[in-house]
């Protein structure tokens, strides 16, 4: 039997006709009671289960997923990881995630294919250059890596960019974060699932949470399509469906759900070895290891639960792309899709105990949940294990909407979500 993944085990199983591999995670029947139940088998939910078991030694844990693992936004994002935010609270949070990502393949013994190829957020006007300098200063003061790029630097990292005098989006420079990169999104979910399962966590797929078990004003478990499951504490990490889950628990959230689209082109030879974001054009792109251009942009304008997306935003995104990279006009698109993201007024996540005691929230990541998975998991696990905030999650509590202490990253870093 081969559990550990390594070059040696590949050779061994190659000689053994691949017959000795064990399943990456176990499929067990639900138990009637757990110490902790986590709703949502995406990256955040699975990471929470893993850190509960590894960091806090709590292994009597179930992750409940209505579909299949990583089938929601974890499998629909454009795989970018970065920490180029403005406010100190945000940088601490996203840099925690990025640092954990940097060691994750080794820690999970699962290749998440992290490729820290760097990301350039382009500035097309003198005003945008001044904003870029402001963001770079903030990032450096907050202790993460950032560099202010000028036109020559852009020419160096993006040789195929449209540098013509008549370009609609001239590249004056921008914000460079060299540690930004991409990671294989499915592998992040599968790696956490495998590691959590090995530590004793139950992963229950095709199991839908229909209601909460509330006794004495406290959440005592969940009613699912596979029976009632009791738990001392319940965590939820269900992204775009957070408001639905909250309604079952009897409260509302400051969340509106929108479709966020992405698309990929046919695969081509390597031409783009960084991630490029243009807030001005409303487009970002990177090239996957298979050679496809992975392209995304801003939110659709109409609140939606339909995982399809709409044409006007796609048109904006693609017209920006071909204007910046005229060579890409020849590319044909292979696939287009959308994920439902939970957008919060200040574009920062919500972490903490919900208005229903015993139920803990991990939501509101909007368009940026994937990059935060290791931090979201660590912090929700801390909340579920101790019942109190980690220093890094405290500013992101739901109470900030009543106290007015918002962390407005849409205004701060200009990241459109």
């Amino acid at each position: 039997m081969t559990r550990h993944y390594s070059a040696l085990s590949l050779v061994k199983e190659g000689l053994n006709n691949q017959k000795g591999w064990v399943r990456a995670w176990e499929s067990r029947a639900p138990k009637p009671r757990y110490d902790v139940v986590i709703i949502g088998g995406g990256g955040h939910g699975l990471a929470t289960a893993y850190y509960l078991a590894r960091t806090h030694g709590i292994t009597n844990v179930a992750v409940i997923e209505k579909g299949w693992l990583g089938g929601g936004n974890t499998g629909r994002n454009t795989t970018v990881v970065r920490s180029n935010y403005f406010f100190p609270e945000s940088v601490r949070l996203y840099d925690m995630a990025l640092k954990l990502y940097e060691g994750l393949s080794r820690e999970l013994n699962y290749n998440i294919m992290l490729s820290q190829r760097g990301m350039i957020s382009l500035a097309h006007t003198p005003a945008e250059m001044e904003m870029s300098a402001r963001v770079v200063n903030a990032m450096q003061i907050n202790g993460t890596d950032a560099e202010l790029f000028g036109p020559e630097d852009v020419r160096r990292v993006l040789p195929i960019y449209n540098f013509s005098d008549k370009a609609r989006y001239p590249a004056l420079g921008g914000v460079w974060q060299g540690r930004s990169g991409t990671a294989r999104h499915d592998a992040v979910a599968w790696g956490y699932a495998r590691a959590a399962s090995r530590l004793g966590v139950d992963i229950l797929q095709q199991c839908e949470v229909q209601d909460f078990l509330i006794e004495g004003g406290r959440c005592r478990g969940v009613v699912t399509s596979r029976g009632t499951i009791r738990a001392d504490r319940v965590g939820m990490a269900v992204a775009g469906h957070s408001s639905q889950m909250a309604a079952r628990a009897g409260f509302r959230l400051p969340v509106v759900s929108y479709a966020l689209q992405a698309c990929v082109s046919e695969p081509v030879k390597p031409v783009l070895d960084t991630i490029v974001l243009s807030p001005g054009a409303g487009t970002y792109a990177s090239q996957s290891d298979k050679g496809e251009m992975v392209v995304g942009g801003g939110l659709d304008r109409i609140p939606s639960y339909g995982q399809r997306g709409n044409l006007p935003v796609l048109e904006t995104v693609l017209s920006g792309l071909v204007e910046m990279f005229p060579a890409f006009r020849q590319l044909r698109l292979m696939r287009q899709w959308a994920g439902i993201v939970d957008v919060v007024p200040d574009s920062s996540p919500i972490l903490g105990e919900s208005p229903l005691p015993g139920l803990f929230l991990n939501c509101g990541w909007g368009t940026g949940g994937f990059k935060a998975i290791p931090a979201g998991g660590t912090l929700l696990a801390h909340l579920l294990a101790t019942g109190t905030h980690h220093d890094i999650s405290r500013p992101f509590d739901l109470d900030r909407f009543a106290t007015g202490r918002l962390i407005d990253e849409a205004a701060g870093s200009g990241i459109a979500h």
Binding site: H241, P254, V255, V256, G306, P312
Partner: protein, 89 residues
């Protein structure tokens, strides 16, 4: 392209419209409004999956109106003037 129907201008393309939140989310009145009530008014939303009653702004004519639509199928009924939707004169 989604087509919404402004009660004053008729069917128009989606990019002329801006989402304005839940229908019936009225500003709290009175001298003493708690921070929690303000937060509910300013930030908290119903965000239903399926049938939804909303406020929209038609940016080109500047009118605010009520819209009933389905957030999953994206079907939308014709917009209604706010006075009619809320039963006011």
């Amino acid at each position: 392209m989604q087509i919404f129907s402004c009660p004053f201008c008729g069917p128009r393309p989606e990019y002329e419209f801006h989402f304005g939140g839940d229908l019936g989310n009225h500003r709290p009145e009175g001298p003493e409004v708690s921070a929690e009530v303000w937060a509910q008014y300013l930030h908290f939303r119903n965000n239903p999956k399926g049938a939804s009653e909303e406020i929209w702004l038609h940016m080109t004519c500047g009118e605010i109106f009520a819209l009933q639509r389905d957030t999953l199928t994206m079907e939308a009924a014709p917009g209604q003037a706010l006075t009619a939707a809320e039963g006011r004169p």
